[in-house]
Protein backbone atom coordinates (compact mmCIF):
# COMPACT_ATOMS: atom_id res chain seq x y z
CA UNK A 1 0.00 0.00 0.00
CA UNK A 2 1.31 3.51 -0.94
CA UNK A 3 2.00 5.75 2.08
CA UNK A 4 -0.30 8.78 2.14
CA UNK A 5 1.59 11.99 1.54
CA UNK A 6 -1.32 14.17 2.61
CA UNK A 7 -3.74 13.26 5.33
CA UNK A 8 -6.53 15.64 6.31
CA UNK A 9 -8.42 14.43 9.38
CA UNK A 10 -11.69 15.82 10.72
CA UNK A 11 -10.81 19.31 9.55
CA UNK A 12 -13.10 22.21 10.28
CA UNK A 13 -12.37 25.66 8.93
CA UNK A 14 -14.36 28.57 10.17
CA UNK A 15 -14.05 32.22 9.15
CA UNK A 16 -15.55 35.22 10.83
CA UNK A 17 -17.57 37.56 8.69
CA UNK A 18 -17.96 40.41 11.16
CA UNK A 19 -19.42 38.72 14.24
CA UNK A 20 -20.92 35.93 12.16
CA UNK A 21 -18.97 32.64 11.98
CA UNK A 22 -18.95 31.00 8.55
CA UNK A 23 -17.94 27.34 8.46
CA UNK A 24 -16.31 26.57 5.11
CA UNK A 25 -15.13 22.98 5.77
CA UNK A 26 -17.05 20.55 7.96
CA UNK A 27 -15.23 17.59 9.51
CA UNK A 28 -13.47 16.87 6.26
CA UNK A 29 -11.30 13.78 5.80
CA UNK A 30 -9.05 13.29 2.78
CA UNK A 31 -6.03 11.16 2.07
CA UNK A 32 -3.76 11.64 -0.91
CA UNK A 33 -1.05 9.06 -1.57
CA UNK A 34 2.41 10.14 -2.68
CA UNK A 35 2.72 10.43 -6.46
CA UNK A 36 -0.96 11.09 -7.11
CA UNK A 37 -2.37 13.86 -9.34
CA UNK A 38 -5.60 14.97 -7.71
CA UNK A 39 -8.10 17.40 -9.15
CA UNK A 40 -10.25 19.20 -6.57
CA UNK A 41 -13.53 20.19 -8.12
CA UNK A 42 -16.74 21.70 -6.95
CA UNK A 43 -18.95 24.73 -7.25
CA UNK A 44 -17.85 28.18 -6.12
CA UNK A 45 -17.82 28.45 -2.34
CA UNK A 46 -17.48 24.70 -1.86
CA UNK A 47 -14.17 25.12 -0.01
CA UNK A 48 -11.70 23.92 -2.69
CA UNK A 49 -9.24 26.78 -2.31
CA UNK A 50 -9.60 26.73 1.47
CA UNK A 51 -8.71 23.04 1.51
CA UNK A 52 -5.79 23.67 -0.86
CA UNK A 53 -4.53 26.48 1.39
CA UNK A 54 -4.65 24.17 4.41
CA UNK A 55 -2.73 21.41 2.62
CA UNK A 56 -0.19 23.93 1.27
CA UNK A 57 0.42 25.37 4.72
CA UNK A 58 -0.90 28.82 3.83
CA UNK A 59 -3.63 28.64 6.45
CA UNK A 60 -4.45 26.64 9.58
CA UNK A 61 -7.60 24.67 10.34
CA UNK A 62 -9.95 25.72 13.12
CA UNK A 63 -10.13 22.06 14.20
CA UNK A 64 -8.66 18.77 13.05
CA UNK A 65 -5.25 17.83 11.75
CA UNK A 66 -3.37 18.27 8.52
CA UNK A 67 -0.47 15.87 8.09
CA UNK A 68 1.86 16.25 5.10
CA UNK A 69 4.87 13.97 4.68
CA UNK A 70 4.36 12.70 8.22
CA UNK A 71 4.44 16.21 9.74
CA UNK A 72 1.52 17.83 11.60
CA UNK A 73 1.67 21.15 9.80
CA UNK A 74 -1.34 22.54 11.66
CA UNK A 75 0.86 22.63 14.75
CA UNK A 76 3.71 24.60 13.18
CA UNK A 77 4.24 28.27 14.00
CA UNK A 78 4.13 30.89 11.25
CA UNK A 79 7.90 30.92 10.87
CA UNK A 80 8.17 27.11 10.91
CA UNK A 81 5.38 26.89 8.37
CA UNK A 82 7.16 29.35 6.05
CA UNK A 83 10.33 27.25 6.18
CA UNK A 84 8.31 24.08 5.70
CA UNK A 85 6.62 25.52 2.58
CA UNK A 86 9.99 26.53 1.16
CA UNK A 87 11.29 22.96 1.53
CA UNK A 88 8.25 20.87 0.63
CA UNK A 89 5.66 22.72 -1.47
CA UNK A 90 5.56 24.36 -4.86
CA UNK A 91 2.70 26.75 -5.67
CA UNK A 92 1.07 27.59 -9.01
CA UNK A 93 -1.62 30.30 -9.08
CA UNK A 94 -4.34 31.18 -11.56
CA UNK A 95 -2.84 34.61 -12.34
CA UNK A 96 0.78 33.33 -12.33
CA UNK A 97 1.81 35.87 -9.65
CA UNK A 98 5.27 36.46 -11.04
CA UNK A 99 7.35 39.42 -9.90
CA UNK A 100 6.82 41.94 -12.73
CA UNK A 101 10.22 43.59 -12.35
CA UNK A 102 12.23 40.36 -12.45
CA UNK A 103 13.23 38.34 -15.50
CA UNK A 104 11.91 34.80 -15.94
CA UNK A 105 15.09 33.29 -14.53
CA UNK A 106 15.14 35.69 -11.56
CA UNK A 107 11.53 34.73 -10.82
CA UNK A 108 12.40 31.05 -10.94
CA UNK A 109 15.40 31.65 -8.68
CA UNK A 110 13.28 33.19 -5.88
CA UNK A 111 12.63 29.99 -3.87
CA UNK A 112 16.33 29.11 -4.11
CA UNK A 113 17.32 32.35 -2.40
CA UNK A 114 16.00 30.74 0.78
CA UNK A 115 18.40 27.80 0.45
CA UNK A 116 22.12 27.58 1.10
CA UNK A 117 22.94 26.84 -2.53
CA UNK A 118 25.78 28.80 -4.10
CA UNK A 119 25.07 31.26 -6.91
CA UNK A 120 26.45 28.78 -9.43
CA UNK A 121 24.25 25.96 -8.14
CA UNK A 122 21.21 28.22 -8.17
CA UNK A 123 21.89 29.22 -11.76
CA UNK A 124 22.24 25.54 -12.76
CA UNK A 125 18.96 24.60 -11.05
CA UNK A 126 17.14 27.53 -12.63
CA UNK A 127 18.45 26.58 -16.06
CA UNK A 128 17.28 22.98 -15.55
CA UNK A 129 13.80 24.08 -14.45
CA UNK A 130 13.42 26.47 -17.38
CA UNK A 131 14.57 23.78 -19.76
CA UNK A 132 12.00 21.40 -18.33
CA UNK A 133 9.20 23.87 -19.05
CA UNK A 134 10.69 24.70 -22.47
CA UNK A 135 11.53 28.33 -21.82
CA UNK A 136 15.33 28.41 -21.92
CA UNK A 137 15.30 30.92 -24.74
CA UNK A 138 12.95 33.22 -22.78
CA UNK A 139 14.95 33.25 -19.56
CA UNK A 140 15.89 36.94 -19.80
CA UNK A 141 12.35 38.10 -20.58
CA UNK A 142 10.20 39.94 -18.07
CA UNK A 143 6.67 38.62 -17.41
CA UNK A 144 5.02 41.35 -19.52
CA UNK A 145 7.10 40.15 -22.48
CA UNK A 146 5.67 36.62 -22.22
CA UNK A 147 2.30 35.17 -23.20
CA UNK A 148 -0.07 33.89 -20.51
CA UNK A 149 0.90 30.28 -21.19
CA UNK A 150 4.58 31.12 -21.02
CA UNK A 151 4.09 33.02 -17.76
CA UNK A 152 2.33 30.03 -16.27
CA UNK A 153 5.19 27.77 -17.38
CA UNK A 154 7.62 30.15 -15.64
CA UNK A 155 5.42 29.87 -12.54
CA UNK A 156 5.61 26.07 -12.79
CA UNK A 157 9.40 26.26 -13.15
CA UNK A 158 9.45 28.42 -10.02
CA UNK A 159 7.26 25.87 -8.23
CA UNK A 160 9.51 22.91 -9.04
CA UNK A 161 12.96 24.51 -8.91
CA UNK A 162 13.50 23.68 -5.23
CA UNK A 163 12.40 20.08 -5.92
CA UNK A 164 9.36 20.02 -3.59
CA UNK A 165 7.45 16.79 -2.93
CA UNK A 166 4.06 18.46 -3.36
CA UNK A 167 2.72 20.85 -6.00
CA UNK A 168 -0.46 22.76 -5.20
CA UNK A 169 -2.10 24.48 -8.14
CA UNK A 170 -5.03 26.85 -7.77
CA UNK A 171 -6.90 27.08 -11.11
CA UNK A 172 -3.62 26.96 -13.08
CA UNK A 173 -5.45 27.10 -16.41
CA UNK A 174 -8.22 29.47 -15.35
CA UNK A 175 -6.70 32.42 -17.19
CA UNK A 176 -5.42 30.57 -20.27
CA UNK A 177 -6.82 29.77 -23.70
CA UNK A 178 -7.49 26.13 -24.53
CA UNK A 179 -4.18 25.53 -26.31
CA UNK A 180 -2.03 27.09 -23.57
CA UNK A 181 -4.11 25.30 -20.94
CA UNK A 182 -3.41 21.96 -22.56
CA UNK A 183 0.31 22.72 -22.68
CA UNK A 184 0.33 23.57 -18.97
CA UNK A 185 -1.75 20.52 -18.02
CA UNK A 186 0.46 18.25 -20.11
CA UNK A 187 3.45 19.69 -18.33
CA UNK A 188 1.88 19.04 -14.93
CA UNK A 189 1.03 15.50 -16.00
CA UNK A 190 4.63 15.00 -17.11
CA UNK A 191 5.93 16.24 -13.75
CA UNK A 192 3.57 13.81 -12.03
CA UNK A 193 4.41 10.80 -14.18
CA UNK A 194 8.11 11.33 -14.90
CA UNK A 195 9.25 13.03 -11.71
CA UNK A 196 6.78 11.53 -9.27
CA UNK A 197 5.51 14.87 -8.02
CA UNK A 198 2.31 14.73 -6.03
CA UNK A 199 -0.01 17.34 -7.47
CA UNK A 200 -3.21 18.78 -6.05
CA UNK A 201 -5.02 21.01 -8.50
CA UNK A 202 -8.14 23.06 -7.93
CA UNK A 203 -10.12 23.50 -11.13
CA UNK A 204 -13.57 24.29 -12.41
CA UNK A 205 -12.80 22.84 -15.80
CA UNK A 206 -13.78 19.17 -16.32
CA UNK A 207 -11.38 18.97 -19.28
CA UNK A 208 -8.51 20.08 -17.04
CA UNK A 209 -9.60 17.57 -14.39
CA UNK A 210 -9.26 14.80 -16.97
CA UNK A 211 -5.50 15.18 -16.79
CA UNK A 212 -5.59 14.15 -13.10
CA UNK A 213 -5.44 10.55 -11.88
CA UNK A 214 -8.23 11.19 -9.36
CA UNK A 215 -11.00 13.73 -9.04
CA UNK A 216 -12.22 14.79 -5.61
CA UNK A 217 -15.53 16.61 -5.57
CA UNK A 218 -16.33 19.08 -2.83
CA UNK A 219 -19.75 20.41 -2.11
CA UNK A 220 -20.66 22.81 0.68
CA UNK A 221 -17.49 22.07 2.60
CA UNK A 222 -17.71 18.30 2.50
CA UNK A 223 -16.46 15.58 0.14
CA UNK A 224 -18.83 14.29 -2.49
CA UNK A 225 -18.43 10.71 -3.78
CA UNK A 226 -15.12 10.42 -5.63
CA UNK A 227 -14.81 9.78 -9.31
CA UNK A 228 -11.84 8.37 -11.15
CA UNK A 229 -10.53 10.30 -14.08
CA UNK A 230 -10.99 8.64 -17.37
Amino acid sequence: MVEPLVSVNKVVKRYWRGKQPVEVLHNLDLTIPAGEFVALMGPSGSGKTTLLNLIGGLDKPTQGEVVVGGERIDRLSGGQLAKWRARHVGFVFQFYNLMPTLSAEANVELPLLLTNLSGKQRKANVAAALELVGLTDRRKHKPNELSGGQQQRVAIARAIVADPTLLVCDEPTGDLDRESAEEVLTLLQLLNREQGKTIIMVTHDPKAAEFASRIVQLDKGALAPEAQAA
Binding site: D59, G78, A82, R85, T101, A106, L110, L113
Partner: protein, 378 residues
Amino acid sequence: MKYLPLVWAGIWRKRGRAILTLLSIVNAFLIFGLLQGLATGIDNVAKESTAAVMMTTSRVSLIEPLPMGHAAQIRTVPGVVAVTPMVIFTGTYRSPTQYVPAIAIDVDQYLAVYPKVKVSQTARQAMRETRNGALVGEGLAKSYGWKLGDTVPIKSVLWANRDGSTTWPVKIVGLLPKGSGGPAMMVNYAYVDEGRTQAKGTASFFFLKTVDPKKGPQIGAAVDRLFANSPNETRTITARQMAQSQFKQIGDIALVINAIVGAIFFALLFSVGAVMAQSMRERIPELAVLKTLGFTDGGVLALLLSETLVFCLFCAAIGLGLAEIAFPLVKQSIGFEAAAGPILFVGLAFAVALALISGLPPAIRAMRLQIVDALAGR
Protein backbone atom coordinates in the same frame (compact mmCIF):
# COMPACT_ATOMS: atom_id res chain seq x y z
CA MET B 1 24.20 39.94 -1.43
CA LYS B 2 22.03 37.32 -3.14
CA TYR B 3 18.94 39.38 -2.28
CA LEU B 4 20.34 42.58 -3.83
CA PRO B 5 18.79 42.06 -7.31
CA LEU B 6 15.41 41.49 -5.61
CA VAL B 7 15.86 44.62 -3.49
CA TRP B 8 16.99 46.67 -6.49
CA ALA B 9 14.09 45.46 -8.63
CA GLY B 10 11.66 46.39 -5.85
CA ILE B 11 13.07 49.91 -5.71
CA TRP B 12 12.59 50.52 -9.44
CA ARG B 13 9.24 48.78 -9.67
CA LYS B 14 7.54 52.06 -10.65
CA ARG B 15 10.35 53.80 -12.45
CA GLY B 16 8.71 57.23 -12.82
CA ARG B 17 7.75 57.44 -9.18
CA ALA B 18 11.12 56.14 -8.06
CA ILE B 19 12.92 58.81 -10.11
CA LEU B 20 10.74 61.60 -8.68
CA THR B 21 11.31 60.34 -5.16
CA LEU B 22 15.01 60.03 -5.89
CA LEU B 23 15.13 63.65 -7.06
CA SER B 24 13.41 64.91 -3.93
CA ILE B 25 15.73 62.97 -1.63
CA VAL B 26 18.83 63.90 -3.64
CA ASN B 27 17.74 67.55 -3.49
CA ALA B 28 17.26 67.37 0.28
CA PHE B 29 20.69 65.83 0.81
CA LEU B 30 22.28 68.34 -1.58
CA ILE B 31 20.84 71.20 0.49
CA PHE B 32 21.84 69.40 3.68
CA GLY B 33 25.38 68.90 2.36
CA LEU B 34 25.77 72.50 1.26
CA LEU B 35 24.36 74.01 4.45
CA GLN B 36 26.27 71.72 6.77
CA GLY B 37 29.37 72.25 4.63
CA LEU B 38 28.89 75.95 5.10
CA ALA B 39 28.61 75.54 8.86
CA THR B 40 31.72 73.35 8.98
CA GLY B 41 33.53 75.81 6.72
CA ILE B 42 32.69 78.65 9.11
CA ASP B 43 33.92 76.53 11.98
CA ASN B 44 37.12 75.79 10.10
CA VAL B 45 37.71 79.47 9.35
CA ALA B 46 37.54 80.18 13.06
CA LYS B 47 39.78 77.22 13.91
CA GLU B 48 42.31 78.06 11.23
CA SER B 49 42.56 81.63 12.49
CA THR B 50 45.66 81.03 14.49
CA ALA B 51 45.49 81.93 18.15
CA ALA B 52 49.00 83.37 17.96
CA VAL B 53 47.70 86.14 15.68
CA MET B 54 45.74 88.99 17.26
CA MET B 55 43.71 91.71 15.72
CA THR B 56 43.51 95.30 16.82
CA THR B 57 40.46 97.26 15.72
CA SER B 58 38.83 100.49 16.73
CA ARG B 59 36.87 100.13 19.97
CA VAL B 60 34.11 102.23 18.41
CA SER B 61 33.43 100.12 15.33
CA LEU B 62 35.03 97.64 12.99
CA ILE B 63 34.82 100.09 10.14
CA GLU B 64 36.38 102.97 12.07
CA PRO B 65 39.97 103.34 10.79
CA LEU B 66 43.00 103.52 13.08
CA PRO B 67 46.01 105.80 12.55
CA MET B 68 49.07 104.08 11.05
CA GLY B 69 51.08 105.49 13.94
CA HIS B 70 49.49 102.85 16.15
CA ALA B 71 51.63 100.18 14.44
CA ALA B 72 54.90 101.52 15.80
CA GLN B 73 53.45 101.78 19.30
CA ILE B 74 51.99 98.26 19.21
CA ARG B 75 55.44 96.88 18.28
CA THR B 76 56.77 98.19 21.59
CA VAL B 77 54.43 95.97 23.62
CA PRO B 78 56.33 93.01 25.13
CA GLY B 79 55.31 89.75 23.47
CA VAL B 80 54.45 91.35 20.10
CA VAL B 81 56.74 89.93 17.41
CA ALA B 82 55.35 91.59 14.26
CA VAL B 83 52.56 93.96 13.21
CA THR B 84 50.92 94.47 9.84
CA PRO B 85 48.33 97.05 8.83
CA MET B 86 45.44 95.98 6.68
CA VAL B 87 42.90 97.95 4.69
CA ILE B 88 39.73 96.35 3.39
CA PHE B 89 39.82 96.77 -0.37
CA THR B 90 36.75 94.83 -1.38
CA GLY B 91 35.60 95.50 -4.92
CA THR B 92 34.12 94.14 -8.09
CA TYR B 93 35.56 93.38 -11.50
CA ARG B 94 33.61 94.21 -14.69
CA SER B 95 30.10 93.70 -13.36
CA PRO B 96 28.76 94.25 -9.84
CA THR B 97 28.28 90.51 -9.51
CA GLN B 98 31.98 89.79 -10.11
CA TYR B 99 32.98 90.07 -6.48
CA VAL B 100 36.67 90.53 -5.60
CA PRO B 101 37.53 90.04 -1.93
CA ALA B 102 40.78 91.99 -1.59
CA ILE B 103 42.93 93.51 1.13
CA ALA B 104 45.65 96.13 1.01
CA ILE B 105 48.82 95.20 2.92
CA ASP B 106 52.55 95.69 3.09
CA VAL B 107 53.77 92.37 1.77
CA ASP B 108 56.82 92.09 4.04
CA GLN B 109 54.96 93.10 7.18
CA TYR B 110 52.07 90.80 6.24
CA LEU B 111 54.33 87.81 5.73
CA ALA B 112 56.08 88.54 9.01
CA VAL B 113 52.73 88.03 10.75
CA TYR B 114 51.62 85.18 8.47
CA PRO B 115 54.86 83.30 7.64
CA LYS B 116 52.90 80.20 6.61
CA VAL B 117 51.32 81.94 3.62
CA LYS B 118 53.24 80.62 0.63
CA VAL B 119 54.43 83.50 -1.56
CA SER B 120 57.42 82.91 -3.84
CA GLN B 121 60.46 85.18 -3.52
CA THR B 122 59.89 86.35 -7.12
CA ALA B 123 56.30 87.37 -6.41
CA ARG B 124 57.32 89.02 -3.16
CA GLN B 125 60.03 91.01 -4.95
CA ALA B 126 57.60 91.94 -7.73
CA MET B 127 55.15 93.27 -5.14
CA ARG B 128 57.90 95.44 -3.64
CA GLU B 129 58.85 96.80 -7.06
CA THR B 130 55.37 97.29 -8.58
CA ARG B 131 53.35 100.05 -6.93
CA ASN B 132 50.01 98.77 -8.22
CA GLY B 133 51.07 95.11 -7.95
CA ALA B 134 48.65 92.45 -6.77
CA LEU B 135 48.97 88.87 -5.60
CA VAL B 136 45.94 86.87 -6.66
CA GLY B 137 44.72 83.42 -5.68
CA GLU B 138 44.70 81.00 -8.59
CA GLY B 139 41.01 80.23 -8.02
CA LEU B 140 39.97 83.87 -8.39
CA ALA B 141 42.30 84.39 -11.38
CA LYS B 142 40.88 81.33 -13.11
CA SER B 143 37.28 82.37 -12.54
CA TYR B 144 37.81 85.78 -14.15
CA GLY B 145 40.33 84.60 -16.77
CA TRP B 146 43.24 86.61 -15.35
CA LYS B 147 46.85 85.78 -16.14
CA LEU B 148 50.17 86.80 -14.65
CA GLY B 149 51.12 90.24 -15.98
CA ASP B 150 47.52 91.32 -16.69
CA THR B 151 46.42 94.73 -15.47
CA VAL B 152 42.82 94.50 -14.33
CA PRO B 153 40.44 97.26 -13.15
CA ILE B 154 39.05 96.71 -9.68
CA LYS B 155 36.10 98.86 -8.78
CA SER B 156 36.39 99.51 -5.04
CA VAL B 157 33.18 99.58 -3.06
CA LEU B 158 34.84 101.68 -0.34
CA TRP B 159 37.57 103.89 -1.77
CA ALA B 160 37.44 106.63 -4.39
CA ASN B 161 40.64 107.13 -6.37
CA ARG B 162 42.13 110.58 -6.62
CA ASP B 163 41.21 110.69 -10.32
CA GLY B 164 37.62 110.85 -9.13
CA SER B 165 36.65 107.32 -10.05
CA THR B 166 36.42 104.24 -7.87
CA THR B 167 38.43 102.19 -10.37
CA TRP B 168 41.85 100.95 -9.32
CA PRO B 169 43.98 99.30 -12.02
CA VAL B 170 46.09 96.56 -10.44
CA LYS B 171 48.80 94.50 -12.12
CA ILE B 172 48.93 90.82 -11.32
CA VAL B 173 52.52 90.12 -10.29
CA GLY B 174 52.04 86.79 -8.57
CA LEU B 175 49.57 83.93 -8.39
CA LEU B 176 48.96 82.19 -5.09
CA PRO B 177 48.45 78.49 -5.66
CA LYS B 178 45.54 76.63 -4.03
CA GLY B 179 46.40 75.79 -0.45
CA SER B 180 48.85 78.66 -0.15
CA GLY B 181 46.83 79.94 2.81
CA GLY B 182 46.63 83.48 1.48
CA PRO B 183 43.62 85.69 0.77
CA ALA B 184 42.01 85.88 -2.66
CA MET B 185 43.76 89.14 -3.55
CA MET B 186 46.41 91.34 -1.92
CA VAL B 187 47.38 94.78 -3.18
CA ASN B 188 50.01 97.21 -1.88
CA TYR B 189 48.93 99.31 1.08
CA ALA B 190 51.04 102.23 -0.17
CA TYR B 191 49.23 102.22 -3.57
CA VAL B 192 45.82 102.38 -1.93
CA ASP B 193 46.76 104.85 0.77
CA GLU B 194 48.40 107.28 -1.64
CA GLY B 195 45.54 107.04 -4.10
CA ARG B 196 42.51 107.25 -1.87
CA THR B 197 40.85 110.55 -1.16
CA GLN B 198 39.92 109.94 2.47
CA ALA B 199 41.17 108.17 5.59
CA LYS B 200 44.75 108.59 4.43
CA GLY B 201 47.40 107.31 6.82
CA THR B 202 45.04 104.88 8.45
CA ALA B 203 44.45 101.12 8.51
CA SER B 204 41.19 99.26 8.85
CA PHE B 205 42.89 97.13 11.49
CA PHE B 206 46.24 95.76 12.58
CA PHE B 207 47.22 92.15 12.87
CA LEU B 208 49.93 91.27 15.33
CA LYS B 209 51.89 88.12 15.89
CA THR B 210 52.58 87.24 19.50
CA VAL B 211 55.28 85.09 21.05
CA ASP B 212 52.84 82.87 22.90
CA PRO B 213 49.13 82.29 22.13
CA LYS B 214 48.51 81.66 25.85
CA LYS B 215 49.59 85.22 26.64
CA GLY B 216 47.06 86.63 24.16
CA PRO B 217 44.70 88.18 26.76
CA GLN B 218 47.56 89.94 28.58
CA ILE B 219 49.15 91.19 25.37
CA GLY B 220 45.79 92.36 24.04
CA ALA B 221 45.10 94.24 27.28
CA ALA B 222 48.55 95.85 27.15
CA VAL B 223 47.97 97.03 23.57
CA ASP B 224 44.55 98.46 24.43
CA ARG B 225 46.00 100.24 27.51
CA LEU B 226 48.40 102.08 25.18
CA PHE B 227 45.50 103.84 23.50
CA ALA B 228 43.11 104.15 26.41
CA ASN B 229 41.44 107.57 26.69
CA SER B 230 42.86 108.55 23.28
CA PRO B 231 40.67 109.59 20.32
CA ASN B 232 41.43 106.19 18.78
CA GLU B 233 40.83 103.60 21.47
CA THR B 234 41.39 100.00 20.41
CA ARG B 235 40.06 96.53 21.02
CA THR B 236 42.54 93.69 20.62
CA ILE B 237 41.37 90.10 20.39
CA THR B 238 42.65 86.90 18.83
CA ALA B 239 41.92 86.37 15.14
CA ARG B 240 39.91 83.30 16.11
CA GLN B 241 37.68 85.33 18.41
CA MET B 242 37.28 87.89 15.64
CA ALA B 243 36.23 85.27 13.10
CA GLN B 244 33.74 83.81 15.55
CA SER B 245 32.29 87.20 16.46
CA GLN B 246 31.97 88.18 12.79
CA PHE B 247 29.95 85.10 12.03
CA LYS B 248 27.84 85.66 15.13
CA GLN B 249 26.90 89.07 13.78
CA ILE B 250 25.04 87.28 11.00
CA GLY B 251 23.14 85.32 13.62
CA ASP B 252 23.34 81.89 15.12
CA ILE B 253 24.21 80.25 11.82
CA ALA B 254 24.25 76.74 13.24
CA LEU B 255 20.74 77.19 14.63
CA VAL B 256 19.41 78.58 11.34
CA ILE B 257 21.04 75.80 9.34
CA ASN B 258 19.80 73.12 11.71
CA ALA B 259 16.28 74.57 11.57
CA ILE B 260 16.28 74.55 7.75
CA VAL B 261 17.72 71.04 7.57
CA GLY B 262 15.26 69.86 10.21
CA ALA B 263 12.30 71.27 8.27
CA ILE B 264 13.52 69.67 5.04
CA PHE B 265 13.95 66.25 6.63
CA PHE B 266 10.64 66.48 8.44
CA ALA B 267 8.86 67.15 5.15
CA LEU B 268 10.90 64.45 3.45
CA LEU B 269 9.96 61.95 6.11
CA PHE B 270 6.28 62.32 5.26
CA SER B 271 6.73 62.28 1.49
CA VAL B 272 9.05 59.26 1.51
CA GLY B 273 6.86 57.53 4.07
CA ALA B 274 3.79 58.10 1.88
CA VAL B 275 5.58 56.76 -1.21
CA MET B 276 6.78 53.68 0.67
CA ALA B 277 3.31 53.04 2.07
CA GLN B 278 1.74 53.39 -1.39
CA SER B 279 4.38 51.12 -2.91
CA MET B 280 3.73 48.52 -0.24
CA ARG B 281 -0.04 48.62 -0.83
CA GLU B 282 0.45 48.10 -4.54
CA ARG B 283 2.69 45.13 -3.90
CA ILE B 284 0.46 43.23 -1.51
CA PRO B 285 -0.08 40.29 -3.92
CA GLU B 286 3.65 40.11 -4.70
CA LEU B 287 4.55 40.17 -1.01
CA ALA B 288 1.96 37.47 -0.37
CA VAL B 289 3.62 35.35 -3.09
CA LEU B 290 7.02 35.82 -1.46
CA LYS B 291 5.53 34.62 1.81
CA THR B 292 3.91 31.71 0.00
CA LEU B 293 7.29 30.73 -1.40
CA GLY B 294 8.70 30.56 2.12
CA PHE B 295 9.86 34.07 3.00
CA THR B 296 9.22 34.46 6.72
CA ASP B 297 7.48 37.51 8.23
CA GLY B 298 10.89 38.74 9.38
CA GLY B 299 12.31 38.10 5.92
CA VAL B 300 9.65 40.27 4.27
CA LEU B 301 10.22 42.99 6.88
CA ALA B 302 13.96 42.87 6.23
CA LEU B 303 13.43 42.92 2.47
CA LEU B 304 11.25 46.06 2.53
CA LEU B 305 13.51 47.81 5.01
CA SER B 306 16.51 46.94 2.84
CA GLU B 307 14.77 48.53 -0.13
CA THR B 308 14.20 51.84 1.69
CA LEU B 309 17.69 51.67 3.19
CA VAL B 310 19.44 51.03 -0.12
CA PHE B 311 17.31 53.66 -1.86
CA CYS B 312 17.85 56.36 0.78
CA LEU B 313 21.60 55.65 0.98
CA PHE B 314 21.85 55.70 -2.81
CA CYS B 315 20.03 59.07 -3.00
CA ALA B 316 22.00 60.49 -0.07
CA ALA B 317 25.29 59.47 -1.70
CA ILE B 318 24.29 61.29 -4.90
CA GLY B 319 23.11 64.40 -3.00
CA LEU B 320 26.18 64.57 -0.79
CA GLY B 321 28.42 63.86 -3.78
CA LEU B 322 26.87 66.79 -5.66
CA ALA B 323 27.37 68.98 -2.57
CA GLU B 324 31.04 67.94 -2.49
CA ILE B 325 31.37 68.92 -6.15
CA ALA B 326 29.63 72.25 -5.46
CA PHE B 327 31.83 73.23 -2.50
CA PRO B 328 34.65 74.77 -4.59
CA LEU B 329 32.09 76.73 -6.63
CA VAL B 330 30.45 78.02 -3.46
CA LYS B 331 33.82 79.30 -2.27
CA GLN B 332 33.79 82.00 -4.92
CA SER B 333 30.52 83.36 -3.55
CA ILE B 334 31.19 83.16 0.16
CA GLY B 335 34.95 83.70 0.24
CA PHE B 336 35.85 80.54 2.13
CA GLU B 337 35.64 76.86 1.43
CA ALA B 338 32.71 74.84 2.70
CA ALA B 339 34.02 71.54 4.00
CA ALA B 340 32.70 68.02 3.62
CA GLY B 341 34.56 66.18 6.40
CA PRO B 342 32.27 64.52 8.92
CA ILE B 343 29.15 65.81 7.11
CA LEU B 344 29.28 62.80 4.83
CA PHE B 345 28.96 60.44 7.77
CA VAL B 346 26.28 62.56 9.42
CA GLY B 347 24.42 62.66 6.09
CA LEU B 348 24.60 58.90 5.68
CA ALA B 349 23.41 58.49 9.27
CA PHE B 350 20.46 60.76 8.40
CA ALA B 351 19.76 58.58 5.37
CA VAL B 352 19.68 55.47 7.57
CA ALA B 353 17.35 57.22 10.02
CA LEU B 354 15.12 58.41 7.17
CA ALA B 355 14.95 54.90 5.74
CA LEU B 356 14.12 53.30 9.08
CA ILE B 357 11.50 55.84 10.14
CA SER B 358 9.75 56.07 6.77
CA GLY B 359 10.19 52.41 5.86
CA LEU B 360 9.30 50.75 9.14
CA PRO B 361 5.50 51.28 9.23
CA PRO B 362 4.85 49.83 5.73
CA ALA B 363 7.39 47.07 6.38
CA ILE B 364 5.57 46.10 9.57
CA ARG B 365 2.27 46.05 7.68
CA ALA B 366 3.86 43.80 5.07
CA MET B 367 5.22 41.57 7.78
CA ARG B 368 1.73 41.15 9.23
CA LEU B 369 0.10 40.33 5.89
CA GLN B 370 -2.02 37.20 6.01
CA ILE B 371 -1.19 35.24 2.86
CA VAL B 372 -4.69 33.90 2.25
CA ASP B 373 -6.32 37.32 2.64
CA ALA B 374 -3.68 39.04 0.54
CA LEU B 375 -3.93 36.52 -2.28
CA ALA B 376 -7.71 36.79 -2.22
CA GLY B 377 -7.43 40.59 -2.45
CA ARG B 378 -9.12 41.09 0.94
